[in-house]
Symmetry: D2
Subunit: 419 residues, 4 copies
Amino acid sequence: MIRKSPMGWNSWDCYGPSVDEKTVRANAEVMADKLKSCGWEYVVVDIQWYQPSASSHDYDPFADLVMDEYGRLLPAENRFPSAAGGKGFAPLAEYVHSLGLKFGIHIMRGIPRQAVHRNTPVLGSDRTARQVAKTNSICAWNTDMYGVDPKKEGARAYYESIFRLYAEWGIDFIKCDDICRELPHEEEELLLLSDCVKNCGREMVLSLSPGPALLEKAQLYKQCANMWRITDDFWDRWDLLYAMFERCEKWSVHTGEGNYPDADMLPVGAILQNADPENRTRFTRDEQETMMMLWSIFRSPLMIGGDLTKLDDFTEKLLTNRQILAMHEDARHAHQVWRREINGRETVLWTALSARGGQYAAVFNLSDEESAVEIPISDLEPAKAPENLLDLWSGESRPQVEVISAKLPAHGAAAFLMT
Amino acid sequence: MIRKSPMGWNSWDCYGPSVDEKTVRANAEVMADKLKSCGWEYVVVDIQWYQPSASSHDYDPFADLVMDEYGRLLPAENRFPSAAGGKGFAPLAEYVHSLGLKFGIHIMRGIPRQAVHRNTPVLGSDRTARQVAKTNSICAWNTDMYGVDPKKEGARAYYESIFRLYAEWGIDFIKCDDICRELPHEEEELLLLSDCVKNCGREMVLSLSPGPALLEKAQLYKQCANMWRITDDFWDRWDLLYAMFERCEKWSVHTGEGNYPDADMLPVGAILQNADPENRTRFTRDEQETMMMLWSIFRSPLMIGGDLTKLDDFTEKLLTNRQILAMHEDARHAHQVWRREINGRETVLWTALSARGGQYAAVFNLSDEESAVEIPISDLEPAKAPENLLDLWSGESRPQVEVISAKLPAHGAAAFLMT
Amino acid sequence: MIRKSPMGWNSWDCYGPSVDEKTVRANAEVMADKLKSCGWEYVVVDIQWYQPSASSHDYDPFADLVMDEYGRLLPAENRFPSAAGGKGFAPLAEYVHSLGLKFGIHIMRGIPRQAVHRNTPVLGSDRTARQVAKTNSICAWNTDMYGVDPKKEGARAYYESIFRLYAEWGIDFIKCDDICRELPHEEEELLLLSDCVKNCGREMVLSLSPGPALLEKAQLYKQCANMWRITDDFWDRWDLLYAMFERCEKWSVHTGEGNYPDADMLPVGAILQNADPENRTRFTRDEQETMMMLWSIFRSPLMIGGDLTKLDDFTEKLLTNRQILAMHEDARHAHQVWRREINGRETVLWTALSARGGQYAAVFNLSDEESAVEIPISDLEPAKAPENLLDLWSGESRPQVEVISAKLPAHGAAAFLMT
Amino acid sequence: MIRKSPMGWNSWDCYGPSVDEKTVRANAEVMADKLKSCGWEYVVVDIQWYQPSASSHDYDPFADLVMDEYGRLLPAENRFPSAAGGKGFAPLAEYVHSLGLKFGIHIMRGIPRQAVHRNTPVLGSDRTARQVAKTNSICAWNTDMYGVDPKKEGARAYYESIFRLYAEWGIDFIKCDDICRELPHEEEELLLLSDCVKNCGREMVLSLSPGPALLEKAQLYKQCANMWRITDDFWDRWDLLYAMFERCEKWSVHTGEGNYPDADMLPVGAILQNADPENRTRFTRDEQETMMMLWSIFRSPLMIGGDLTKLDDFTEKLLTNRQILAMHEDARHAHQVWRREINGRETVLWTALSARGGQYAAVFNLSDEESAVEIPISDLEPAKAPENLLDLWSGESRPQVEVISAKLPAHGAAAFLMT
């Protein structure tokens, strides 16, 4: 059982499909050194580690992929040298484990088109790739795979064959792509895939992409996966952060132990997709703090998108605020209390109980101007009048308050623990 | 501020539009005698108290109504004799207050068509009924009123004139009909009406009908009203009760102090709309308990629909279970945890924190067969492992449980307090 | 049987709800004098002839209306003096007939609200207005009437009572409003009303308003009425004329003897609803010719909207082009051939057979620039190669053409008869 | 220019994807012998002539296809022996031409997936199959092809390369599949493909499949193709024939020289997809005549689906009725006049002008019972009163009629020429 919402780093935001072993090791080392003590643990290699010529944020259509004789994709050795000799990701996973961290990989739903066209055998079955492929199921944005048809004999054997391989490698986290929003069409394939992950012999987080997930399928996601993307790719733009408030509101009741609706990676620090010559996030500092508070009270997984080898002071501080990260771990029954205009500023109030006692409140200023808010404690319906109000960012306490007062910068926020 | 979700009795389910003063007094007396000590307090006269010839559950189209020279409706004296001499509902309200209870009335949005066609003056204004009526706004199911056009001069004066009159009478509760689901068309009229209630000089609960309310307008309801119907008229049919689980799930995050999404009246005991010769509810006892547990953990207002003068033992017991009613008062941050099949039985789990400490859990068997469920405490994510589990119906306690076990009859439920 | 698409004049575009008898007579006299010989024949009094205080293009909400003891509306005598003594429109109809023309009136679907609130008896029935009114059926833009509920006893008697009265008056044309687009809700009322018109003892054109009519109800309109509006109110704006091409395309297959989809009145000459100090139409001359050609090949009814007492030379010439009006009378099986870009100009081609032999073609330039078009005769699929091509506007003929060449001004058109 | 609506035979209904050369020759011979004199001329080989192992009505997913070094598909020599030596369909086309007939083939939109995965060069370009394929465009029901991305350099060269090859073979008719209903997504590919057909150096009919075509794209189809399917696959079931009346009604205005909306093949005689041991169509004889009359007055292409080598007497007579086929050739400006209940029988009336003079009428009984209809000639709005009425099936004439009388069997029809 995955008892807390995962925290880690993912290679996509800074390296796209072209990350390599050296980079993964370097980032893992920074995580172990500077972040691990605050709870950060997963190191995840994103898409196309099996594509030798990957070189940027674009995909090379119909590229030749590295795979074994059973149509199972393998790390490209020119990019991941330790995979040589058929070792796959086992050596890299072992290194990450040696740092006290966990190791994850990205996969695409389905079976390589290349395997289907070469008609490779399916391991543990008398069927071939052509016989298990779903003929009209492809990804809209990537040419690597065909879907697998769960009704075909051999389909389960194929999925078993890959997850057993990943278990042998020592994988702790699977980010499965081209599946989360492909419902109801690919529902049966998700159920099969999820079942094979659960029975592969090693505990792995199962993370579903891309979003937005379908709210009416919430129960299915809860049954199949540990986290699922509630949004399309999230980047360092205020309109996307603004829109996340409504997404989190809708999904908040579906968070529970082992189930964490996912607001996507944190585009902080040095990331690729921006115009800044130094590749720094376009989010203001206030916006980054707002993001951390929303993700944390909502208990979204926290996956860092920035390059850890270029970690700056502000970002490090942002990612190691122990009070905020405690809220991420301890928040329970979180929900939006209201969203309303206060003096012309659109304001959002969230609350959650703390598993360690007390109640959290987070207030967000979504307007483009500074705002001074006064929120009666009664809006939060605390079990009893709080004796102390702790400001999570400043660390300051106020006794016996009846009103939460806060000065919020544009796009800024504040979070409190009432005890 | 209305600090708890209202509890009371409403005349509709047993008397339709034809309730009379004698009946209201008799029901109020039973409430004072048998229910008041458990928190029941509102006595509400439903629709068409101003219609002298009302006689059944049907409306008499275009009937002549009793009104004063300003187009304000007055109780029909043949049905409410104490209203004689222009006293309106003041004497009846006074009597209800003398029993330690509160008194409410039903109104229709708008101004009487009769006033418009007679072109009566609007009190406190130089305008007439024709000048404030909204020309194309009528109720789909009742011919009494035209809407009032908030853009017209005199519109506010009209609404002020009626709520001041109700304040003079001593009204504590307004159930305003033909408005809740009429958004966005009648949004401005709702805002005006709500503002006039707030400023009429007497605290009144404002309840909006009919449902289903529009989820996307949740913030507006919260701003304007204390309770709003999340469903069309609810009667003693399992399909309607079954459907309420989804409604409550969606609306749960919009409950808060002073704001109570309303699952409608409780069709218990002796009610009119059924085939039983004794007019007893068609709900089984298990279904009635299920209803009480769902309404209570969700904090829906509890308005009894049955005739209190015919209160039977089972119904009295149902309405006076102190543990359930404590959950109704104390539940906070309630939400559905999951809805899933367990051994083929559709099962729903809710939880809420208690304002007095501890955490509630309620589990519902929506299937047509008996069910034995085992729910790990961890599904509820309690702050700490509970030392005691109190069964709210049986009053029995179990120490240090890790799993909630319950045998649930078809359509039955169980509720617990973990401390 | 109404064997040709009606042609006439309607008071709305220049007088709104406030036309009076003197004006109607004056317009009828001009029609008789200058237009009758070209086929113009109907003189129609539009809405609210029963409202004494009508004075402009706005309605006076809830105004007191003139009606008889059976709730039947009568002409306001202050506006129509010849109606004095209970004569209704009989004297005015007689005068119009004496000019060799026909006389029509506008009515609203339903029964006066005033009759319902006064509860007048229904002639020829033991029922009252309250008993036949449809309780929740009102017009969205006028407060005069309630719908009549065809399921109620007395409903047919009411409609019979009004159409018999109109037959006694000598009415030849009924423009029934608030009904054409009110389907399927008011379908039964339309059927009842239509049946009462057919059986009232006098042949009357039945015209339905307002549009847009519902295409999926085409068969119903054909069964019930002679003409029905395929558009909301049409005024002198190019965007509305542009949009009519698509409407006509869709409705063309529903034209047939006695059934004429109606593109609405012709806002030509002096009309009210414009900014011009002389009240002249804002359409250019080319646009007016385009309108006449489209309406004619499509066989829309032609109802003049302009004030005939202010008829200018251009407008008179426009309305008396005998070749165009022959197309209006003789076109059969008309349909759009194509709509395409020619040299960047959006161009539309229509064709129709002529009941007198030969085939019509009309080509329209919908662009804002002049256009020279060359259309192969084969696009029109004539039965045989035409020997003569007659330009309907210029009257010029061209022999043995294989291509129709035309220079079309912006928003302009040309029409031809191939024989 | 294709001056008349195509008539011919297609291999699909009786042979699915597995037709062979011997069969095609045999069917062509019967056509030349028995049908050619009535206007039948196209012999069309349907899908997967390039798939060596095709054997039934199902597709073999991801099968190996025969193609040349430029990724262009070639006839499988085991099925089409004359294609040996790289001759393609040239010898077979030559044989069909020698019979005085024309030859057509089916193609799928796009480029073979096999070519993309093998990355074959595109003839006449420096690009490869991978570089012109549209990465996320596949057929929903067949695995042979990827779409071609018209924005990619080399895309036009690819389409030119295949149509030039077909021109060299002597192809007269292209049935392009997976394109007709794939709008707007594949609109640009359709435009490119159509342009390459027009410029390939040989006149070819371009037929688009599968349906239903999108009515709002009518102008695009007219611009690009000669015929396009207005329905999904049509088989010998009454519900499908019944539904065609509405389809034809909607599409009738889009018929014109060179443009023929296509109601699909005629499942007559011996066809595969039925339960009959002798493979005879399930349509009754009356239904088959109804189908022929509707297709003909509407001018749908007529493509025989049945096996001509098993042509029975009834079917031969059905396909050689010269009066009906004259209507197919001569009908102009066809449209449905009305669709209404007559004595409880749903009845449809169509009319069209004849290019040889006179006017057609066809009346259809869609009910399950015999029907006697009387239709006033005036419903058809003939140019002048007809002197003669010719019954197209019986060949009988009636003089000077004012009413068309017909006895129609269940699902039966009658057609007439008025002169």
